[in-house]
């Protein structure tokens, strides 16, 4: 059978193409596409969002013959039939219909060589776009090691596009990509595949094509099989699951806390050394109390955030996160969600913003919305500054279970559990009412276990670190400055006022009647107001407030807090922060993901009400009990 049976029509594009300037990288999830993208672009990459929609836009550049070629990393898709938003983005970019994204003049199609069959339908629908396409059969090393064979030339003939065997993790075969990109695009033949119109027959077509290309699939991955026998074992599986999740927590707090303390000391020292050099009182106050205290009190939590993302990255890249989804599916289902929600909800422990973005892996729209709505109840890293401050100020450290668990760790753990329980309760209510559904089946791919690459993890940390510091640098700095200005104004006889007479005190005193039943005074009230922007802002706000108050000026923040807040009120504040939606970034991201203001509005009102009444109950009960 001649290969031309699949190639019905061959035409030549009229204009000679110039050299490749923009290349799109496309491939199914788990094909190693991101690893290849990182390998090609390294640090020369940036992340943003496509305009108007929620899909992440990742692009970078590579040098080919001293000329920059832009690489657009398209979202991982199984198919180009526009079902999901990701697939629509891929199609729009390939068609050059995506605003702000240059039309790609070539395509790198990444396929996993170890399970080619089901990817061939995607391959031909990409090739059929008519852009010069290089088909990359990734994981060539694993493929060969496990006895897989293929004739790339034959496959190229069948597909009407060049084919190369590569390994993104080993970095082999990548010179083909450079050669492909440096060739001044010749006139291209556009291959048409009639099978594209008969999707129900695509599977048998793929088998025939594979036979002609001499494809012999590799043996199943022996190590993955053995590891799964252990990791998904009836008894060992859940135990390993608990140990892994426990180890992540232990490391973040056991390792992250000393690192944070060290950074705090460093930042304080720098602030004090700099302050003595500034003679002008206004400028010194602005720099030290307005900017430096506000920013540094938040910056010190960077170590913990990076540690958490390090672990999530390791779990995801190694392949364990998918197993965790499989193990947790049964449990997640009892609240109406699926195992895939576990991944975003685990990420929500670092930050709800990326977690809500990660809900894109959930195909079922209603499941996805429910996950988005409960994600902010998970204890995110922005709550850690508040929790750590209040716990270390109000809960004395003593052993609860030997050296393993102290009272402070237990308090922290309880807050995690509390947030989780309310999230689950909320999910249950949502899934049994407004978001009830069960149409799209739950499908979970278990990728082979792989060693995570430092490059990929490193780039992810850099990316997240940048996002976090950008928040510190802009949102929090602005709020810190506003707060400082409100404490510095209105000037009285050319001097800053006493704190009780400042503008901020008036606002705080105005809302005090509402929060007094919760055990909070007006200073806490000011903190609650400013932390609507971002939870951790309250730490900076309180820092600024106490630093400008003569009676607490010289005290560390914890000591100042103990003077100002009773134990029941402090606990109520912890509870308030466990539940309240004090995060502008999350609200903005929810609006974008749900494409409406209604959901973030409902979420804000719901979470704030839960927080208010839970804090009210905590304060009243503890006062009665004391």
């Amino acid at each position: 059978m001649p290969p031309s049976t699949t190639t019905q029509e061959v035409r030549t594009s009229p204009a000679e193409l110039q050299r490749v300037r923009t290349v799109a990288l496309i491939g199914p999830p788990n094909s190693g596409k991101s690893t290849l993208f990182n390998r090609l672009t390294g640090l020369r990459q940036s992340v943003g969002n496509y305009p108007g929609i929620t899909v992440e836009h990742r692009s970078g550049s590579i040098l080919v013959q001293e000329e920059q070629v832009r690489v657009i990393d398209l979202p991982g898709v199984y198919s180009l039939s526009p079902f999901s938003e990701d697939e629509c983005v891929a199609v729009d970019v390939l068609k050059g219909r995506m605003a702000g994204t240059p039309v790609p003049d070539a395509v790198l199609l990444v396929l996993d060589a170890t399970n080619l069959t089901r990817q061939l339908a995607l391959a031909i629908s990409v090739i059929a776009f008519g852009l010069p396409t290089l088909v990359l059969l990734n994981m060539a090393d694993l493929f060969a090691k496990r006895g897989g064979t293929i004739d790339p030339l034959k496959l190229a003939q069948e597909l009407g596009a060049p084919v190369a065997l590569v390994s993104a993790t080993q970095g082999t075969g990548l010179e083909t990509i450079e050669r492909f990109l440096e060739q001044k695009g010749d006139a291209k033949e556009i291959t048409q595949f009639p099978i594209l119109n008969r999707p129900s027959q695509s599977r048998s077509w793929a088998s025939q094509l594979e036979r002609r290309a001499g494809y012999r699939p590799p043996l199943p991955a022996e190590w993955t099989r053995r590891l799964d026998a252990l990791v998904l074992h009836r008894i060992w599986g859940p135990l390993i699951f608990i140990v892994v999740v426990g180890a992540v927590f232990q490391s973040v707090f056991g390792l992250g806390q000393p690192l944070s303390n060290a950074l705090q000391n460093l930042l304080n020292l720098f602030g004090q050394k700099t302050a003595v050099m500034i003679a002008q009182p206004f400028l010194r106050s602005l720099l030290l109390d307005g900017i430096w205290k506000g920013v540094s009190s938040v910056l010190i939590f960077l170590p913990q955030i990076l540690l958490l993302f390090l672990f999530i990255g390791l779990l995801e890249d190694s392949g364990y996160l998918a197993r965790a989804a499989l193990i947790s599916d049964r449990t997640m289902r009892s609240v109406g969600l699926n195992g895939k929600a576990f991944i975003p909800l685990l990420s929500a422990y670092a930050c709800a913003v990326p977690a809500i973005m990660a809900t894109r892996t959930i195909e079922n729209k209603r499941d996805r919305l429910a996950t988005i709505l409960i994600a902010p109840f998970m204890t995110c890293s922005a709550r850690l500054p508040v929790y750590t401050l209040l716990i270390s100020a109000f809960i004395p450290e003593h052993r609860v279970i030997g050296p393993l668990l102290g009272s402070r760790a237990l308090a922290m753990l309880s807050l995690y559990v509390l947030g989780f329980l309310v999230a689950i309760g909320t999910a249950k209510i949502l899934k049994s009412s407004v978001l009830k559904s069960a149409s799209i089946p739950f499908v979970l791919e278990l990728p082979e276990y792989r060693w995570p690459t430092w490059q990929s993890i490193g780039l992810r940390l850099l990316d997240r670190g940048r996002v976090f510091t950008r928040q510190v640098g802009t949102v929090i700095l602005v709020v810190s400055l506003v707060i400082w200005a409100l404490t510095y104004l209105p000037l009285q006889h050319g001097h800053p006022p006493q704190l009780e007479h400042s503008a901020i005190a008036r606002i705080g005193q105005f809302i005090e009647p509402v929060i007094q039943p919760l055990g909070f005074n007006w200073k806490i009230g000011v903190g609650l107001l400013t932390s609507v922007v971002a939870r951790e802002v309250i730490v900076g706000t309180l820092g600024t407030l106490y630093a400008t108050d003569p009676s607490t000026h010289s005290m560390p923040l914890q000591t100042a807090l103990r003077q100002d807040l009773a134990f029941p009120g402090a606990m109520a504040l912890l509870i308030f922060f466990a539940f309240a939606m004090q995060c502008t970034s999350t609200l903005a991201v929810v609006r974008r993901e749900t494409n409406s203001w209604a959901w973030p509005a409902i979420q804000f009102v719901y979470m704030s009400s839960v927080a208010y009444f839970a804090a009210l109950a905590t304060n009243q009960l503890l006062r009665m009990w004391k």
């Binding site: 080619l116 998904l232 049964r330 069960a438 499908v443 082979e448």
Partner: protein, 91 residues
């Protein structure tokens, strides 16, 4: 002999780990069929039960060289011909 002329159909959810079968029909709405096809679930494809999740559900299947997990509520609607019964038929 008359008993084995027609292959014995069963559903994917009923197979035990280690058992292999060929998908005969996916008795689900067209849209769901299309969705499952992305992962390799299509009539005529051989499928092997890999293992069940620790709590008994979902179950991981080996299909086209990949490991894909489905819940029993989905696998119940995938009609398969167990390979042992196919062998019986041809032998």
């Amino acid at each position: 002999m008359g008993v084995t002329t027609t292959p014995v159909n069963s559903v994917l959810a009923d197979l035990e780990p280690g058992q292999a079968a060929v998908i005969d029909e996916i008795a689900l709405p067209t849209e769901t069929q299309e969705f499952l096809r992305r992962f390799g679930f299509s009539p005529g494809v051989e499928i092997t039960v890999s293992r069940r999740a620790p709590f008994g559900d979902p179950t991981a299947y080996r299909i086209d060289g990949a490991e894909i997990a489905l819940r029993a509520e989905t696998a119940r609607h995938i009609v398969v011909v167990p390979l042992s019964s196919l062998e019986k038929e041809s032998g």
